[in-house]
Amino acid sequence: MKEIIVAVAGQPNSGKSTIFNMLTGARQHVANYPGVTVEKRTGRYSYKGDAVTLVDLPGTYSLTSYSPEERIARDFLLHEKPAVVLDIVDAANLERNLYLTFQLDEMGIPLVVALNMMDVAEGRGLKIDTYKLSELLRTVVVPTVGKKGRGGGELKEAILNTYQGGRFQTGYGEAYKGCSACPGMSREKGSFRVDYGEELEPILSSLENRLSEAPKISARYPARWLAVKLMENDSEARRLVQKAEES
């Protein structure tokens, strides 16, 4: 029996806690993240013989280091290295929610997207092509309605599959049948990248190359992510590079 650590990320009001409750039920534990008063909620479930531990990250709009919540979420992903990140996305506010999804993706941890509150989106007359979204993001996208308990089984399956690095086999249920056939369901086919434009991309790739040449850094942090952060002038990223030097 393996223990799979899954970080649950998402913007505020994306229905993160309902999904969390749906997956873990009553097996939850609440504490504080060390040194701060941000609640750290963990929960567990077992699926097909594997024990999965979910860690709820604070709800944040972004992953910079401006607020304690953002820093906690980021530090957890960087240092605790969860096996999978489950990103809860509000289907009714897809565009804004993707902003965080891109940043999670850049951190290089296998990603599963729960497209939550599908009912609200439908109620607003939005029809979301989840195949295509999955294809574009090169990530498994599972439609869910956390409040009504819909999509839990599919999420568990998707998490396990992503963890194993295999293809996502089972269907999403009747409405989304056949999705397993679409490309991009597995991360083997390379991951999604935000195109930062012709002015920045050359600089980013030269930085990326130099970062991957430094063994102490490339062993710890994803080079692309660090390159972007350095160009963003993120003080925390600079510190990480400096620390790698001292060690």
Partner: protein
């Protein structure tokens, strides 16, 4: 390893180059590109089947966030919140209290039994700590309701609207829209509790506003501050009760806003402020399960943490108010007094009384405990049947003592008997008991006065006289530190009733002893009380929520300094200008209002501006 430094330099150079070439920061381009990518993905994957211009949420918001209707609805919600959690919660504590009292009694029963006037040290200390814990646990029903309501407000999406509505005022003072709820819970309208208030600060995302709110919550008027207000208002301002209560509740919020502003301009200047992103989530109907889970979790977290710390802190304060205790000769003096009173008792009932022998030696103490227990049990028994059960229990415990406490009226073989000896003993013991209680009170008073806290109270008198406080008031105020309810209780034991005049109210007794007091004295005390440092459970909460002992200590000391300054200003200033109590109050109110409004106009130091 030069490599890493090279990389940093390289990145720095590239940034500089980018800045000078494109006249814009790379982070801005990065953000923009992300937005563009998101937009593109949405374009490719989302189709609008039908245009829905106004959703239900939009329609609700049109009313709830309306310029005029919004604040009115908010007031209604706040009132409901306060009514349900604080008022109804306190009513529930009436039902839960017996459970806690039973727990206390159980602890009391396994401790060494009390003496006639002197209780064993282990007993008094343990009970002191148990009382402290029980006092905190007593708030649990309030917490459960409170956390459930907060969870409902959060889950439904209304909390974001509250923040939106109040942010317009609060941001001038370095606070956040979400600071409103903690302040209300702490008692803006006279009668809240800072513990749930400070705890509710969790919901504030902005670190600076959160700390500022945590620090001003204790300035609100918690329920325990009220008895002292009522006492003093009744003594000196009885004609203007409503006006004074309005003054007290509004002056605290005026001062609190000023304090918040000063803190965010000075001590909290360097704390982070989050860019103010306010999202209006779609209204949801909260789920019962979700609400219950959150409220029970938070309550449990609270109980677990507070209990462990409360034990230590209560113990320390209790020791400070007890030690070094009364001296040996004083102890002998009180023992002699007790013996003398006991002698009077025995003389009165006479040697012929068959009960005189029964009560000899240590039996008198035993009887005293028996009688105390009996009275307490009788008080707890409401129905006739329950009273009968109590009687039966005590008859079994000691049939002879039972005859005395029943005033000589009891049954033997089913026949009522009138025992005039027992009646006589009962009557005389009542007198003895009154003396016993007086001696106990004297000992308690002398202990407090001689204790570390008491000495501080007396040594402070030369300074506090500028605020109009004499040492008696000092001790009363210091004793409130453990819990504010103590202030009136301590004053009650300091201004004791002379024998035979027990019925006189505390206010009258105080007036008798402090003939030179004016309304200015009362005003200074009231204002000091409004700024009183948080009680111990609140301080622990402050420590918990701010995450540092430093802030808890700060939350203790700044109100003392501020309160003293205000009390001195009002008392000494008022005296110098020859103002009456009411005049001084109005003058101070206007002054505070001007200062606060002026402070609101000072520009905030917005760290967040860099990032926008």
């Amino acid at each position: 390893m030069e490599m890493e430094r090279d990389i940093l330099n390289h990145a720095e150079i590239e940034r500089e180059k980018f800045l000078s070439q494109h006249k814009t920061a790379p982070e801005k381009v990065i953000a923009q590109k992300r937005y563009e990518a998101a937009e593109k993905i949405v374009e490719l994957t989302v189709k609008r089947e039908k245009e829905i211009y106004r959703t239900l949420t939009d329609r609700i918001d049109q009313v709830v966030c309306h310029r005029f209707l919004g604040p009115i609805i908010l007031l209604g919600v706040i009132y409901l919140f306060y009514e349900l959690s604080i008022v109804q919660g306190y009513k529930i504590t009436a039902y839960t209290w017996p459970i806690l009292a039973a727990f206390r009694d159980f602890i009391a029963s396994i401790l060494p039994s009390p003496g006639f006037v002197f209780d064993p040290l282990l007993r008094t200390i343990t009970l002191g700590v148990v009382d402290g814990i029980v006092a905190v646990l007593n708030y649990i029903p309030i917490f459960i309701i409170l956390f459930a309501l907060i969870a409902i407000m959060e889950d439904s999406g209304y909390m974001a609207r509250v923040a939106f509505l109040l942010d317009r005022v609060f941001r001038y003072y370095g606070l956040h829209g979400q600071s409103a709820l903690p302040m209300i819970l702490s008692g803006v309208f006279v009668g809240g509790c800072a513990i749930p208030g400070v705890m509710a600060c969790r919901t504030i995302k902005d670190e600076r506003a959160k700390l500022a709110t945590i620090l001003i919550c204790p300035l609100m008027n918690c329920l325990a501050k009220i008895p002292l207000y009522i006492l003093l208002v009744g003594m000196f301002f009885s004609a203007y009760k409503g006006f004074i209560m309005f003054f007290i509740s509004t002056i605290t919020i005026i001062i609190a806003l000023a304090v918040a502003k000063i803190l965010s301009l000075t001590l909290l200047r360097k704390t982070e402020t989050a860019p103010f992103v306010l999202e209006m989530p779609v209204y949801h109907l909260p789920t019962v399960q979700g609400v219950l889970r959150r409220c029970l979790e938070r309550t449990w977290l609270f109980v677990k943490k507070i209990i462990t710390i409360v034990v230590v802190v209560v113990l320390i304060v209790y020791l400070l108010m007890t030690f070094p205790g009364i001296g040996k000769d004083r102890r002998v003096y009180y023992e002699n007094q007790t013996n003398h009173q006991a002698q009077v008792f025995f003389d009165k009932i006479g040697k012929d009384n068959p009960y005189a022998k029964l009560l000899g030696g240590s039996k008198l103490t035993e009887f005293a405990i028996y009688r105390d227990d009996y009275k307490k049990a009788k008080m707890g028994a409401k129905s006739k049947e329950a009273k009968r059960v109590v009687d039966e229990k005590f008859r079994e415990r000691d049939s002879e003592f039972f005859k005395i406490v029943k005033r000589g009226k009891y049954k033997i073989d089913g026949k009522m008997v009138k025992d005039s000896y027992a009646l006589k003993v009962n009557k005389e013991y009542k007198k003895l008991n009154r003396e016993r209680n007086r001696i106990k009170r004297d000992i308690k008073e002398e202990t407090i006065i001689g204790s570390v806290m008491g000495r501080i109270g007396r040594s402070l008198e030369p300074a506090t006289k500028y605020a109009g406080f004499n040492w008696r008031i000092n001790i009363g105020l210091i004793s409130a530190f453990a819990a504010k309810e103590n202030s009136v209780a301590t004053l009650g034991s300091i201004y004791q009733s002379p024998p035979g005049e027990e019925k006189k109210a505390l206010g009258d007794r105080m007036k008798e002893k402090e003939k030179d007091w004016t309304p200015l004295h009362a005003l200074a005390i009231i204002l000091f009380m409004t700024m009183y440092p948080p009680c111990i459970p609140t301080l622990l909460m402050v420590r918990l929520e701010s995450g540092s002992t430093k802030w808890a200590l700060f939350a203790t000391f700044y109100p003392i300094v501020l309160g003293s300054m205000i009390a001195v200003l009002v008392f000494t200033g008022g005296n110098l200008l020859g103002l009456s109590g009411m005049q001084a109050m109005i003058a101070f109110y206007v002054l505070a209002l001007i200062v606060t409004v002026a402070l609101g106009l000072i520009k905030n130091n917005e760290m967040s501006e860099e990032y926008t």
